[in-house]
Amino acid sequence: MAFGKLAGFAMADGFASNAQAKEYYAIFPNFFMLGSPTQPFSHCVMPIAPDRSRGVVRIYWVGEDNSATKRFAREYAMATALDVHAEDRAVIEAGQRGLGSGALEHIHFQTQEVLCRHLFLSVDQRVQTYKNQAAQAAQVGGAR
């Protein structure tokens, strides 16, 4: 019921027919934005430790709540978004536990997992560059 109402509001706000509806943007390294007609949101992920990160999700609406029905539909959509991300969090935690334990030695990206592969390779490239530069600096320092 709530999503049906939300879809009606999205159409009235011009979201449903918008060319950017359902477009997904991923801006390296940590910003993601989904142009969902009913609940467009951004997700910014910030590393806080080698094995931990903090994500901030912001849902964007057009205008203030101007009716009880719209307020209800938005609350439901927001709570749904929290539930979906909570489910993702459980999977991510399990994956991190596997990597941290050493049980998982490799990450297998499938053909269609283009974004994950690109993000991983881009980060890895920067880490390797940093490590090489640090090693070179140590050599230069040791030679003095």
């Binding site: 019921m1 709530a2 609406w61 203030e64 709540d65 101007n66 009716s67 009880a68 029905t69 307020r71 209800f72 938005r74 609350e75 439901y76 927001m78 709570a79 749904t80 929290l82 539930d83 991300h85 909570a86 489910e87 969090r89 459980a90 935690e93």
Partner: protein, 117 residues
């Protein structure tokens, strides 16, 4: 003489037993209320409210949100609480306790309903 004071607008007597505990003022508070609830609490509130949600929203839609009186405002918050509980009862079902363990680490900072509430 005993004077009974309704917490909710006329016509929502069936929801009176849930008004104090489920009509929480903020989105974060409503999420927390769901988090701390038992299954029997959730199901009892859900069963009592599900057939009244449409009527409540239709009635509340007759006024701008800023002009709702105290009882109408409480009914609004009760319906917002129902939005959270409906997800537990209709979607998460038996998985709600496990899902709650993950969800408790995720915090709502502010929702549109908190503005001007």
């Amino acid at each position: 003489m005993t004077v009974l004071t309704s917490l909710l607008p006329e016509g929502f007597d069936a929801l009176e037993p849930y008004a104090e505990s489920w009509a929480v003022a903020s989105a974060a508070g409503r999420a927390q209320r769901r988090l701390l609830s038992t299954e029997s609490e959730r199901v009892a509130f859900y069963d009592a409210a599900k057939e009244l949600v449409q009527r409540a929203l239709t009635q509340l839609d007759q006024k701008p949100l800023m002009q709702l009186d105290e009882r109408e405002h409480r009914l609004m918050n009760l319906m917002l609480g129902f939005a959270h509980v409906a997800l537990a009862v209709e979607v998460q079902r038996d998985d709600e306790p496990r899902h709650a363990e993950v969800r408790k680490h995720m915090r709502i900072v502010r929702a549109s309903a908190d503005i001007g509430a």
